[in-house]
Amino acid sequence: MQEPLFGSVDEVVERLAGAGYLASTAVATTVFLADRLGKPLLVEGPAGVGKTELARALATATDSELVRLQCYEGIDESRALYEWNHAKQLLRITAARDEGWRETRDHVFSEEFLLPRPLLTAIRNPEPTVLLIDETDKADVEMEGLLLEVLGDFQVTVPELGTITAARRPFVLLTSNATRELSEALKRRCLFLHLDFPAPDLERDIVTMQVPGLDAALAESLVRVVGALREMDLRKAPSIAESVDWARTLLALGADSLDEDIVESSLGVILKYQSDHRKAAAELRLDQLLDPASP
């Protein structure tokens, strides 16, 4: 078993904070366990709560290389694992016409003509690695079978080269937006972390850290408004990324406190649907000046 990356849960919090990621107890504990138990970590949650960001911060905090596999519909072995460089092989064959079959074969199927894709790269890397498998739910079910094999014992068999075993187990992080249920088998091999919108205090700290120069009181009221928006039945609730964007906008506008006009005019930054916009304006009573009925 290799050296664990972290000594304690508090150390996780500290080092992630050093990398610019403020982790809740849930995140820190699960990361610590994933490291100690040597299991992949499956992070699920709505878009924009910092799933991919967590992988980035982990890589920075542990001085690892980040290898990213972006999943999409129709991704297959040759995109995820490895591929032979056919064009180069053909060139090699035409370049050496008078060689024997055996020599050519040995040459053509060697390291030089192998195109490693993210999974193989992560496994072969002797340095510490964070392997991020992003949006796993977008890939087809067949892809999960491949992941099971690779994540199960961290080895890959290339028929022409033999079996490649991980020199050093990468820290594996899978993310999912839950557009489809991942297979039980895959889930069972992972630790599960549901990442949701952060508690108000944590979010305020995140916003202040990401947008330096933002007034503390303004950050406070911004988080309150965003919290209220998330409680409404909106089609798309604002995420952390959107709070940060909003904070940047407010800073650029030179606002020093949130009032109805500012919120009304910049609501478009955090709400992406017209219907959400209307509803939020009504519920936060932004238009009360136009409405003589209200006090």
Partner: protein, 469 residues
């Protein structure tokens, strides 16, 4: 907790989760034990997260998990938790509560909830301090009641005082409508949190008295996915509505994936030959014929009378959210008469809360009263809206089939079944109740396939299985 108790406690805990519909395998239990081994038991918050990460596999299960965790790994035994707060009477408690609510101090709210349960929640013959562990026969009718506590403390009546306190605490943002609206929302959600704390505390104390298995089985609210439509409370219905967007996305992916799979199969000979020219006439890669996207038309016909309105409303919103999976959706509602509500439902997408009320007030769904008349309703549907039915239509009928002893009008249903491609009846009642009392469910079930659809899990399974891709 020593090393011998822990494995047993963990296994009991996992057993309680299974009973609440969270599948936890032995492998997960072993992982959980390994996690405890690594972390130790010193920090309860970390322990909670460690167990959650090892035994949970889905997002909607956290609520149940937390409640069961609090029972099996309680924060304290007996009344220790309330030591921090000891108000002498209900007025003092309420004053402290106003301050805590205005500040949004969650730890203090929890302590006050504990104090409240301690002071007002006791019923029956609870031993002093309530630390007796085993529920013996004589203590059967005793325990700690959240209902009684809340009745005494009446937190909801404090709303105005809390708002006033918040206004004094933040004089700078109290003047606009925005500040008021924000404060109101926050105060309400804190009140809800306080109620939750009281319930959790009452469960914990009662569990000490009567055994955790019993309490875990009866007092922990089920996952939203498994709440029965007909008995859901208002909060549960709201929680259900919040699952519509993610659920519809999931169902749409499933429907689309099935449609894609269905396309594989038939070989397009002409295009295969043409492509084979590139490989010297050898057809290396066959081209499959793209199937015409035969998206079905959907007709939803639902009973909006009291008992099943929640179910109908949820299903209407869900089918609406799935609208792009169908070439056309028409919705109809009935109580004693059938009227078309397609417009109302699609407008209701932005404001799902009051959909049922709007349907009842704006559509002509009854002649007299609010009791459902299936015979008349099916009849009027066939008479007025039979143009909605065609060879490509799938009809979903939502209702319990309780005719109030009127004529079930089987003929009308037979005519619907003859004209449409498929008719499915989703019944929110349990199968065992079909045909009891005034239910004509079994007679309808002879004509069209009828499915039990009591909760979101069953509904989402039915939607993907029944609807043609």
């Amino acid at each position: 907790m020593n090393t011998e108790v822990l494995p047993t406690r963990l296994v009991d805990f996992v057993g309680a989760l299974r009973e609440r519909g969270i599948e936890v395998g032995p492998g997960e239990t072993v992982d959980a034990a390994a996690a405890i081994g690594v972390l130790g038991l010193a920090d309860r918050a970390q322990l909670r997260e460690a167990l959650a990460s090892t035994v949970l596999r889905r997002s909607g299960q956290r609520g149940v998990f937390d409640a069961v965790f609090d029972l099996y790994f309680p924060i304290a035994v007996g009344s220790a938790e309330s030591a921090a707060e000891r108000p002498s009477d209900v007025y003092e408690l309420r004053d402290a509560l106003v301050a805590a609510l205005a500040e949004g101090d969650d730890a203090r709210l929890r302590a006050l909830a504990a104090a409240g349960v301690e002071a007002f929640g006791r019923y029956g013959d609870v031993g002093e301090g309530g630390s007796g562990g085993n529920g013996t026969g004589s203590r059967r009718l005793s325990g700690w009641s959240a209902y009684q506590t809340l009745g005494e403390v009446r937190p909801d009546a404090l709303l105005n005082r809390v708002l006033a306190a918040m206004r004094t605490a933040r004089p700078d943002d109290g003047h606009g409508g925005l500040g008021e609206a924000l404060a109101g929302r926050e105060a309400r959600s804190r009140l809800a949190a306080f109620r939750e704390h009281v319930q959790a505390e009452a469960r914990r104390r009662t569990a000490e008295l009567r055994g955790r298995e019993r309490i875990a089985r009866h007092a922990v609210a089920p996952q939203t996915e498994l709440v029965t439509f007909t008995s859901a409370s208002r909060e549960q219905l709201a929680a259900m509505r919040r699952t519509i967007q993610p659920l519809s996305r999931k169902l749409a992916t499933r429907l689309a994936a099935r449609r894609r799979r269905a396309r594989r199969g038939q070989i397009d000979l002409r295009r295969t030959l043409r492509r084979s020219l590139a490989t010297g006439g050898v057809p290396m890669r066959p081209v499959l014929r793209a199937r015409r996207p035969g998206r079905p038309e959907l007709v939803v016909l639902c009973d909006m009378s009291g008992s099943v309105a929640g179910f109908a409303q949820f299903t209407l919103l869900l089918t609406q959210a799935l609208a792009d999976q169908f070439s056309k959706i028409r919705s109809f509602a009935f109580v004693g008469l059938t009227d078309e509500i397609t417009e109302l439902v699609s407008a209701g997408r932005d404001e799902p809360e009051g959909l049922a009320t709007r349907i009842l007030s704006q559509a002509r769904v009854t002649r007299w009263g609010m009791s459902s008349d299936y015979g008349e309703s099916l009849g009027s549907f066939v008479e007025e809206f039979s143009d909605a039915l065609g060879p490509r239509t799938s009809v979903l009928i939502l209702g319990d089939g309780r005719t109030n002893f009127g004529d079930p009008n089987l003929g009308a249903l037979r005519r619907i079944a003859e004209r449409a491609r498929h008719v499915y009846w989703l019944n929110p009642e349990g199968r065992t109740f079909w045909g009891t009392g005034d239910s004509a469910a079994l007679r309808y079930a002879e004509l069209v396939p009828m499915y039990e659809c009591r909760n979101i899990r069953q509904l989402s399974r039915l939607v993907t299985e029944l609807l043609p891709g």
